[in-house]
């Protein structure tokens, strides 16, 4: 009973946060002074018909609170986020495609980072205070500290001759939607390497430190001594007790950070011209494409909420102590 309550509470929290995010989004982009922002219909080169439609859909000639209601309506019911100033295309469809691209690259990069982080973190904790520990921890700190874009730029500097560093234009919108031949996959893969590696290098440091910390904490717990007292060999204790418990904070961290990585991938996408959400934000800023910017911001916020929620559920599943 308790545990079902918990899930419901987390769902409620997630939904409320979504709502708050949407509202903040609205306030930022519509209700604030700076008239260029608030007028959705001011798409340059838009035909009068388009303008009229937009004005009607978003109630741009009505009082603010009505606009808010219409905004919610359009967003939730019609999934309409307006039209991009850049090309008069619906924001929703464009963002959907770009989100897929971002997710693909982020997934690969994060996977690298997690693997490196877990391995190095574990080894560091196991050989605590040894040479391996110091080297590993300090390397983690160094990469954690270097600006993401700098790491990307260094990789370009070093590997431009060997791997593609740009050139994935919007064609990649068809990333996951079938019809890809082997060469197409290979092409995407090659283009993805440097950005994914950059992301991995930026991220792994934090994972190493957290895994190390979690393992050290776990290795010092009483139940590990008890397991040793039972005559169990070390390897078994590590796998069956220590790792199992250390997984808790690790999983939480990874799941939580996924939400922010999607946002942080912006820098990587810019450096490598990867056509994802981050790239979309960048271009929208440059061209003052406010509907696009607003849409991207909302999508990013929602993804953070989503991944946080997943993290909550995972933690809940792994830790039987959660009752509240």
């Amino acid at each position: 009973m308790h545990r079902a309550d918990y899930v419901i509470k987390r769902i409620a929290f997630a939904l409320i946060t979504v709502f708050v995010a949407i509202t903040i989004n609205f306030i930022l982009f519509r209700a604030l002074p700076g008239s260029a922002v608030s007028n959705f219909s001011r798409a340059p080169h838009a035909s009068p018909e388009l303008r009229a439609t937009l004005t009607h859909e978003f109630g741009l000639d009505q009082p603010l609170w009505k606009q808010y209601v219409l905004y919610l309506d359009q967003l939730i019911v019609h999934r309409n986020m307006g039209v991009s100033f850049a090309d008069n295309q619906p924001v929703t469809t464009e963002l959907a495609g770009k989100l897929k691209n971002t997710l693909g690259m982020v997934f690969v990069g994060t996977l690298f980072a997690i693997v490196i982080g877990i391995v190095t973190g574990f080894v560091s904790a196991w050989r605590r205070s040894g040479v391996v520990d110091h080297v590993s921890t300090n390397t983690a700190i160094v990469f954690y500290a270097l600006p993401t874009q700098f790491i990307g730029m260094m990789l370009i500097f070093l590997f431009a001759k060997y791997l593609p560093t740009a050139g994935m234009r919007n064609e990649v919108n068809t990333f996951f939607s079938g019809g890809s031949t082997w060469s197409s996959i290979k092409d995407i893969g090659l283009h993805m390497m440097l950005p994914a590696i950059t992301l991995a290098l930026t991220l792994f440091g934090e994972y190493t430190l957290v895994v190390r910390s979690a393992m050290l904490e776990t290795l010092g717990e009483d139940y590990v001594l008890t397991a040793r007292a039972k005559g169990l060999p070390q390897r078994r204790i590590v796998v069956s007790h220590a790792l199992r418990n250390a997984m808790l904070p690790i999983v939480t961290l990874v799941a939580l950070s996924l939400g922010f990585i999607v946002a942080g991938a912006i820098l990587v996408e810019i450096v490598f011209s990867w056509p994802g959400i981050g790239q979309a934000v960048y271009e929208a800023v440059a061209t003052r494409d406010y509907p696009m910017l607003q849409g991207a911001f909302l999508v990013l916020t929602l993804s953070v909420v989503f991944f946080n929620f997943i993290a909550d559920l995972l933690y809940f599943k792994l830790d039987p102590r959660i009752t509240e």
Binding site: F13, T17, V20, A21, L28, F29, L32, G34, V37, A125, W126, R128, I141, V142, Y144, A145, L146, P147, T148, Q149, F150, M153, M154, I156, F157, A160, T165, L216, E217, L219, G220, E221, D222, V224, L225, R228, Q234, I237, A242, G259, F260, V262, A263, G264, I266, L267, I270, V271, V281, Y282, V285, A286, R288, L293, F297, L300, T301, V304, V305, N308
Partner: protein, 323 residues
Amino acid sequence: MKTVEPAIAEGTALEARPSKGGSPVVQVLRERKSALLGLFIVGFFVLVAVIGPSLAPYSPNVPSGPVYAAPSAHHVLGTDGSGVDVLSEMMYGGRTSLIVGFAAALVAMIVGGGIGVLAGYSGGATDVGLMRMTDYFLVIPDLVLMIVIATVFGPSLSHVILVIGLLLWTTTARIVRSQVKSIRERVYVRRARSLGASHRRIVVQHILPQVAPLLIATTVLTIAYAIFDESALAFLGVGVPGISWGTMLEHAFERTAMTEGAWWAFVPPGLAIGLVVIGCYLMGQAIEDALNPRLRVAHLSIRTWRVRSPQTVTDELAKDEAG
């Protein structure tokens, strides 16, 4: 669960070094090598930021050499994509980056600290309300919000500082809040309350001094984030106007320094940011560790306890007899 550590601790209790006095922060800086290293690094860059510009060989805005000239006697760090001397840019830019970093962290410290104290001390509905608000703030991706606000309000030094500071306060608030909560329950605070001390007095005299070290540690770490964020904002074209390490990276990217082979245009600023971040991290982490000492004993390890071999006994007997 009692293990042997207390025995060891007690056995050496008389050897424990008494604190040399002074605030815990100063003590940590004195005793831990990592903190000293961090202080040294950050101190170095601060020094450069303060004195540098007056020693800069060239102007940071006006070209003084060919585009992407390699490091030489004339230009120690070469020139960038516009022909401007990189070393001079580094000095002036360092000033801006550090100002943004420190100022934003200060904003975060004040706001975060204030909210943390308020929430932790008041408890009840205020606490819950404030923490909910913090939760929502936490969810919003910092960078994107910064971009949006910078776009909407226009870029300027103060805007950037405010934006970064107003997004970094949440961590500080949480940490401060939990510390305030535990301090509030301590005996001497409750005693002061029962003696009728006003809230203001309690906060100022008892709570703030106790929270200060942790707040300082968190703020130092925030400086690192702030400098990082500044470079990210600059890279996205919404950073501070003028020269900063962040804008240097952005310029280098715009003018494809990487493919031109002009590493001197982006490596110095990138490394500088990295070093300052490392320095702040070392200091902040050392203070935090000192404040929350966690005697983490590992119950598993590669080596095991040893049995005294008869040979060792014989050796020691021989030593005793000889000496």
